[in-house]
């Protein structure tokens, strides 16, 4: 088990090094940062001075290693647009995105698994078929359209929920949370549904097909032959086996919830890192873009590391094989 974790951590570090290289390359290949930093009226001396000062005259590899050193300490440089340290800006924005991602992730997992199990057990039922048909809409409609439709229905027509922003937030330490105020919670509902709907339908369909497969297995038949009740067979024996492949996909999907947040945040003007990233692209604010890329990849890698460990915990066969 330990060698398994060590191996996975090693792979994760490798992935981070590669994305770090991509993020770093943006500085070097997407225009010249000196051009971005100095205005129209500059002398050749200014350019040379700044170049040496920033270490941009050093070889590529030296610069990359230095970038990694800085990044590991949470220093991603200074935003071109806002003139403030990138780390500081990210820290301000991250709570909004993480809270949104957490709520929609939990929504997607809980609802996805529950509906998936329901539609698998009642395979031929009317309700199950209805859910399956409706879920097709969830998969096929683009996220921004769902967001706009929800805003139209609940904000414009019914006026129940706010159409944009985070509502009031409370600051706890460095973390600003929307969970503690009524307007904050209200503001969370529509974006969370918008963001989680696609993942929810995906998880539901996956759980359903895996569960149907598991219910055909001999050990399920044998469990029934032992006289176990339907509840025990379905929720103890079948569900655990269903979760083994589902967990991998859930891990990947949670990562993409954070990445997909860009679209939802744009539609709802949600003040998170996704919106920050979109603005950064418009202004070619490379330090922000690089930092965002690193942040997302750290999340992806961390979630997948957790999933792999969880996987081995559920499936004893993996534990002994490693």
């Amino acid at each position: 088990m330990l060698s398994f974790i060590v191996k996975r951590v090693g792979q994760s570090v490798l992935v981070l090094l590669v994305t770090g290289l991509v993020a770093f390359s943006m500085f070097t290949f997407v225009g010249d940062p000196i051009d971005n930093m100095l205005g129209q009226e500059r002398t050749m001396e200014d350019v040379e001075r700044l170049r040496t000062q920033l270490g941009l005259d050093q070889p590529f590899v030296v610069q990359y290693v230095r970038f990694l050193e800085q990044a590991a300490q949470g220093n991603f440089g200074i935003s071109y647009r806002q003139g403030r340290p990138v780390a500081e800006i990210l820290m301000e924005r991250a709570p909004a995105t993480l809270e949104l991602a957490a709520v929609s992730g939990i929504l997607a997992i809980v609802m996805g698994i529950a509906l998936g199990v329901f539609t698998a057990i009642r395979r031929d039922g009317v309700a199950a078929n209805l859910i399956m048909s409706i879920s097709l809409i969830g998969v096929s409609l683009p996220t921004f359209l769902i967001g706009i439709l929800l805003i139209y229905l609940f904000s414009v027509e019914l006026g129940w929920l706010p159409s944009f922003g985070r509502g009031e937030t409370v600051k706890i330490g460095g973390w600003s949370t929307g969970f503690l105020t009524e307007s904050g919670l209200k503001a969370l509902i529509l974006p969370a549904i918008t963001l989680g709907l696609y993942q929810m339908t995906l998880i539901m369909r996956l759980v359903r097909s895996e569960m149907l497969e598991v219910l055909r297995q001999d050990y399920v038949r044998f469990a029934r032959a032992r006289g176990l009740s339907n509840r025990v067979v379905n929720f103890r024996h079948a569900l655990k086996n269903t979760m083994v492949p589902v967990i991998t996909v859930i891990g990947l999907q949670l990562g993409s919830i954070i990445a997909f947040a860009i679209i939802t945040e744009t539609v709802f003007q949600w003040p998170g890192v996704g919106l920050l990233f979109i603005n950064a692209i418009q202004f070619v604010d490379i330090p922000v873009m690089a930092a965002y890329l690193m942040l997302i990849s750290v999340m992806f890698v961390a979630i997948n590391l957790l999933v792999d460990i969880l996987y081995a915990m559920i499936d004893p066969r993996l534990r002994s094989a490693s």
Binding site: Y219, F222, R224, G227, L228, V244
Partner: protein, 571 residues
């Protein structure tokens, strides 16, 4: 006579289909008395298992009981509702399934599964249930029951898992056990142990056992009473000695005659003649077009020297910490041109690994394989491709060795296309010809594998193997997934191929009587080593190693067969 614990009276099961009502079980009646083992025998599709499933209420809808009665300990149970039947399942009637590898849930420990069942049926506390579970594991002779209790199914071997399944069946003190092909997936030696255990438990606990099987040897060894089924009906029943010694029905007679004998070598496998569903295999037509330009110069086609294969058992970063498992250990033999060489041994003895190395599916870790004077380990890619064209494989499981998404025509055409043997326009007619020759109807070309029975699929595998006109055929347990009657057909096809086309064969099997009939020479493998190589008749009559003798002793036999009947079979 004691009162029966279970009586099945005139039971009929119906499945409504688009083409009318299909009756997989029709008017079946039999009784089980305490401590008695009743064998139910017949081909697959004869309704043996369906009867068992109907009794315990595990029929898959839309199948349903439409007629008849089932009485358990003086109570009628066929009319109970789902909940009532569930209470009986695993309680008064327990089940044992065919495949021990798939009947246990891989994610729960053996102990958890036992305790769950015990608590459900006997309502004991957790600690009492655990005590009872360990006692049961001990009773089915699982060593270190206390430690094994906490282990997962994958940590048990096939035979041990079947013991766990038996322990699970005993959890609730059942009065009847339905054992559906409990030893079909096991080796001869393990099979004997498991059957002994079932016999012993039946006597000791006065449990009535329904033993569903297609193996006449198992019937002869284990059962007290036999019911012979054919196409959903009981054709004959009585005591085991009566049925095996003096069968009256034509189907029973031909079924018994079709069992391969270890005692004598016959020219062909006797087939089940009843029902007459054999389709002809047109060997003469196939032989006419066969390319025989290549014959080996020395008389020896394949020479294996010091063959070794190691698998990584436990990985580690440092090579010195890695642990290897030697699957094949310094194996040497040679196969003459036109010979059928048998390889026998228990599962895990390395016989399939040898076959895979010969087919270049596994790289060779040590030793040499020389085919027709050329060493295969040193071959270039081009030579290797030519070699692969000359060797073909037929696998054990006809259900998983054919791609379910490809039509049969495409499956058989694939080797032709891969080796670019024929132009595109010639492939179609050639494939149709091959399918025709192995006895499949012309419409097989467009059909998909799932539309065929096991025996027909194995014919497709043979057609695919013959497409490249190979010289050497590797058959890895080609009939162990098939019924006796189908087995005879397939084995006769293989015999014909060897006789008429001069094919050389490596025939792997754990079924000794079949090996006796098929092979010219036999090698016996144990734990990766080749312990003995002999002419077949010598091996069966004068085994040299103690292990071979042990294997021969464990073979289930039909002793009841008289000398006269054997004489009849020879003609």
């Amino acid at each position: 006579m004691t009162k029966p614990v279970l009586s099945i009276v005139n039971l009929t099961v119906e499945i409504p289909t688009r083409r009318g009502i299909f009756k997989p079980v029709e008017g079946v009646s039999y009784d089980i008395r305490p401590g008695e083992i009743r064998g139910v025998v017949g081909e697959s599709g004869a309704g043996k298992s369906m009867t068992g499933n109907a009794v315990i209420g595990l029929l898959d809808p839309p199948a349903r009981i439409t007629e008849g009665e089932v009485w358990l300990n003086g109570r009628r149970i066929d009319q109970l509702d789902a909940e009532g039947k569930r209470r009986i399942r695993g309680g008064e009637i327990a089940m044992i399934f065919q495949d021990p590898l798939t009947s246990l849930n891989p994610l729960f420990t053996v102990g958890e599964q036992l305790v769950e069942t015990i608590q459900l049926h006997l309502g004991l506390s957790a600690t009492e249930a655990q005590k009872r579970a360990i006692a049961l594991l001990d009773r089915v002779r699982i060593p270190n029951a206390k430690e094994r209790f906490h282990q997962y199914p994958h940590q048990f071997s096939g035979g041990m898992r079947q013991r766990v399944v038996i322990a699970l069946a005993l959890c609730s003190e059942p009065s009847v056990i339905v054992a559906d092909e409990p030893t079909t997936a096991l080796d001869v030696s393990i099979q004997a142990q498991v059957l002994d255990l079932i016999k012993e438990l039946a006597r000791e606990r006065q449990v009535g056992v329904i033993l569903v099987t297609h193996d006449m040897g198992v019937i002869a060894d284990t059962t007290d009473q036999v019911t012979v089924m054919y196409e959903g009906r009981v054709v004959e029943q009585g005591t085991t000695s009566q049925i095996l010694g003096a069968p009256t029905h034509a189907y029973t007679k031909s079924l018994i005659a079709a069992v391969p004998r270890p005692q004598v070598k016959l020219r062909r496998f006797p087939q089940v003649s009843y029902g007459g569903r054999d389709t002809a295999f047109k060997i003469e037509d196939l032989a006419r077009n066969w390319d025989r330009s290549t014959t080996s110069k020395s008389g020896t086609l394949l020479e294996v020297k010091g063959l070794t294969k190691r698998f990584l058992e436990k990985g580690a970063i440092l090579p010195s910490h890695r642990r290897y498992f030697t699957a094949v250990d310094d194996v040497s033999f040679d196969i003459k041109d036109g010979e059928v060489f048998g390889l026998v041994g228990e599962s895990g003895s390395g016989k399939s690994t040898v076959a895979r190395m010969l087919a270049t599916l596994y790289p060779v870790d040590g030793g040499t394989v020389t085919f027709d004077g050329q060493e295969i380990t040193g071959m270039t890619a081009k030579q290797l491709s030519a070699y692969r064209k000359q060797i073909q494989m037929i696998f054990q499981d006809p259900f998983s060795s054919l791609n379910p998404r490809m039509s049969v025509g495409d499956i058989v055409a694939e080797p032709l296309a891969h080796h670019k043997l024929l132009s595109r326009s010639e492939v179609g007619p050639r494939v149709r010809e091959l399918l025709d020759r192995v006895g499949l109807a012309p419409d097989a070309y467009r059909k998909y594998p799932h539309e065929f029975s096991g025996g027909q699929r194995q014919r497709i595998s043979i057609a695919r193997a013959l497409a490249t006109q190979p010289r050497f055929l590797i058959c890895d347990e080609p009939t162990s997934a098939l019924d006796v009657s189908i087995q005879a057909q397939i084995l006769n096809i293989l015999k014909d191929l060897q006789e008429h086309l001069g094919l050389t064969m490596l025939f792997i099997s754990h079924d000794l009587p079949v090996v006796r009939q098929m092979c010219d020479r036999v090698g016996v493998m144990r734990q990766g080593k080749l312990v003995e190589v002999q002419e077949t008749s010598a091996l069966f009559e004068r085994p040299q190693s103690s292990y071979t003798r042990e294997l021969l002793d464990l073979m289930p036999r039909l002793e009841q067969l008289s000398e006269k009947e054997i004489a009849d079979l020879r003609t």
